[in-house]
Point group: C2
Chain length 435, copies 2
């Protein structure tokens, strides 16, 4: 009896040529994060359930993978933020603050499987955690990292949308709607999806007076350039302290985002962004590819007052963003717009046309010593099979060693794209392959 | 009530400076594997329990993390070989053979926690899988990959020990001891640990006649250079077919290992290696750091006749090796012999001595554009705190922007190791930092 080998639904498993692209994207994200000095972290995938669920509840708790092993009540991490909170509290005395860390790793959510939803997926997170306080300039660093990262992934036409929840919350206070603020923000957050009319209707369903709804609507409809929007906000003359603070923070963020070198064409102020979660307390971000709005935000995050309140009395404010790489990759792949040039691991496949592959082995070693990824075809197959292997793996060059080449101490290098073939020396081959 | 943040025993969690070294080692392993054209793979950590356990049993089954989610009986992978078998069978039609893949990922074994044992640990595997058959030259490629990888990790004085289980099995057949072969190999495998006398005693406990024990002992005591050992084996004149085949394979492997460029000082034939497991059927490998024998083998593996017999009737022979990176890192770290020069992510920390950090932000952006990892200290702290941050993170340079530097359009670059400080232009700084 054979067991049928199968992979669980909701778990991405790629063929090698796709995996190469996936890894290339992950590497670019990692290198972009490191460029800003974020430190790597790699926390366990399994944690004590009580530690992981200290803050959770609702949907998260239902989706979690939780199980016993021996006497331990364990769970798989469902994000990288809770492990960060645990880590920062646990190793507080050994860390330097502001603590800038990145983590790229798999997280687990047992959602009902549906297209585009994954139960195991990569998150690529950066966060900056302050000890007691954290300068608003850090909030401007986030769009700068997003900008470098998304450019690195090959996209130019994207917009990082920035908002500050204090502005919305201040407005709600001014309108004496603070008790409904979370619901109102959730509704506003959907503006793009459901349209103005439906937002108005949803607000009416909350029994909000029409004049207040008008004020909310005229607020979220503020348009124009980034500076015009900030100016329009100032002109509202709202005297609520939180509103004023939020506006000041947002202005600071805009100013510093420019100093960080992010062009105005790649960011704007979008007053409708609230990032659903109650978690964020100040600046919030979303990032959209303008030609592919259907992807939704590909990089989101924000500022929070207190990272680890469930573990410690210490105040640890932070700001961070995350890329859900598995989802993004899957969607980009569907749209066939992955901008990765790396298609193969090997730059060259060495094939012997003679009975012995001694020289092929030696040449492979010399190419690798020169820093070139070189595969050697070792099986006793027809020449056609050898070229088919190079072809399927999209290896750009094949180095052929026949009797003639053995005699001359050369190799024939075939460019698999142009079909061009030349008998050259090993050193000449190294030069071509190093390009 | 606060929850105490804690990490499960047996789960490695590193501080950033250690994590940098760990990641650097992992990168080197990955790049070494890619140099030989191994393709990346990333299979799920969770699989259907029946798929994962198709072949398992005994200790493995007891150690596994297994749980239900909805109606599914799930388990965490305990190695990367079973997922490979699943993958190759599942995607057989889309793969090119020989299928060369590497996978670096975490695996899970719920062992009783003890020093040096991990429940979550990285394995770094390479395997070459043939479709029906696989040339013996692939068995010679493995030591070549090990050689490049261990050198890359900074070690020179190591020995890759090679054996072929057919030789031992042939000998057992010749001695009519094949029914005990698994037990005998387990005992022989322990030779180095328990010594000759105890091996003899263990063999006596199996009720093996003394003359046969003598033959086994004189066999595993064969000494000398690689070629002398092969010659001594030939001179035994054992006519058993399996023995002859094993000897021929081992001779072929030795010949080709040399052609792959591995010097005789880094490999030998060791007839005592059997690699405990019943799994291997031909060539077997172990790798020892000669100055740190207490580490045990840091890279092991071998040839197997059939990768996926529990899933398919197709014959898929393979050969592979694995580095248990978590264990190796932990031991090297204990011995303080990690050969990693990368201590920090950032090459430079930019600090402003004036009230505004505008220029510091601009310089950071320009340095990053030039390909340099540059962190900017953004908090409003005393200069001492800023330098302490650089110091603790072992950032090698600090770029200071004071009033003088602002006026001159320069920066003062301080080498944190020598203490030397110079006021230079941005371009000069880029040149220094790029080194």
């Amino acid at each position: 009896m054979k067991i049928e080998p199968r992979t669980l639904p909701g778990f991405m498993e790629l063929l090698p040529n796709e995996q190469i692209k996936f890894n290339s994207m992950m590497d670019k994200i990692r290198k972009s994060y490191e460029k800003f000095g974020f430190l790597p972290l790699d926390t366990p995938i399994i944690e004590m359930a009580d530690v992981l669920l200290a803050k959770a509840g609702g949907e998260t708790e239902k989706q979690i993978y939780r199980f016993n092993k021996g006497d331990n009540d364990l769970a798989l991490r469902f994000d990288l933020t809770v492990p960060l909170a645990k880590y920062v509290t646990e190793y507080y005395n050994e860390l330097s603050f502001p603590f800038k860390r990145y983590q790229i790793g798999k997280v687990y959510r047992g959602e009902r499987p549906q297209k585009g939803r994954f139960r195991e997926f990569y998150q690529c997170d950066i966060d900056i955690i302050g000890d007691g306080e954290l300068s608003i300039v850090n909030d401007a660093q986030m769009p700068s990292v997003i900008y470098i990262t998304i450019k690195e992934l090959g996209f130019d036409n994207f917009t990082i949308r920035i908002n500050n929840r204090k502005i919305l919350n201040g407005l709600f206070k001014e309108l004496q709607l603070e008790d409904n603020s979370v619901e109102i923000m959730r509704i506003i957050d959907k503006l793009e999806k459901i349209g103005k009319e439906n937002v108005t209707k949803c607000l009416q369903d909350l029994n909000i007076e029409n004049d207040k709804i008008d004020k909310i609507m005229s607020f979220i409809e503020i348009e124009g350039s980034t500076d015009e929007r900030l100016e329009a906000l100032r002109k509202l003359n709202i005297e609520n302290e939180l509103f004023i603070q939020g506006l000041e923070e947002l202005s600071q963020v805009v100013k510093h985002v420019r100093l960080f070198g992010v062009p105005d064409s790649n960011f704007n102020v979008d007053l409708t962004i609230a990032r659903g979660l109650d978690y964020y307390t100040g600046t919030v971000y979303e990032t959209f590819l303008n030609d592919y709005r259907e992807l939704g935000s590909i990089c989101s995050g924000g500022r929070y007052d207190n990272l680890a309140e469930f573990y410690t009395d210490r105040k640890l404010p932070g700001v961070g963003v995350s890329i859900g790489l598995t989802r993004v990759f899957s969607k980009l792949s569907e749209l066939n717009i992955i901008k990765e040039e790396n298609k193969s691991i090997s730059k060259v496949l060495i094939v012997s046309m003679t009975e012995s592959n001694d020289r092929a082995l030696e040449i492979g070693t010399k190419l690798r010593d020169a820093g070139i990824n070189a595969d050697t075809y070792l099986e006793d197959k027809k020449i056609k099979a050898k070229f088919k292997y190079a072809d399927k793996l999209e290896i750009p060059y094949v180095a052929i060693i026949g009797e003639e080449e053995e005699k001359n101490g050369t190799l024939s290098l075939k460019n698999m794209i142009t079909g061009e073939q030349k008998e050259i020396s090993l050193n000449e081959a190294i030069e071509v392959l190093k390009k």
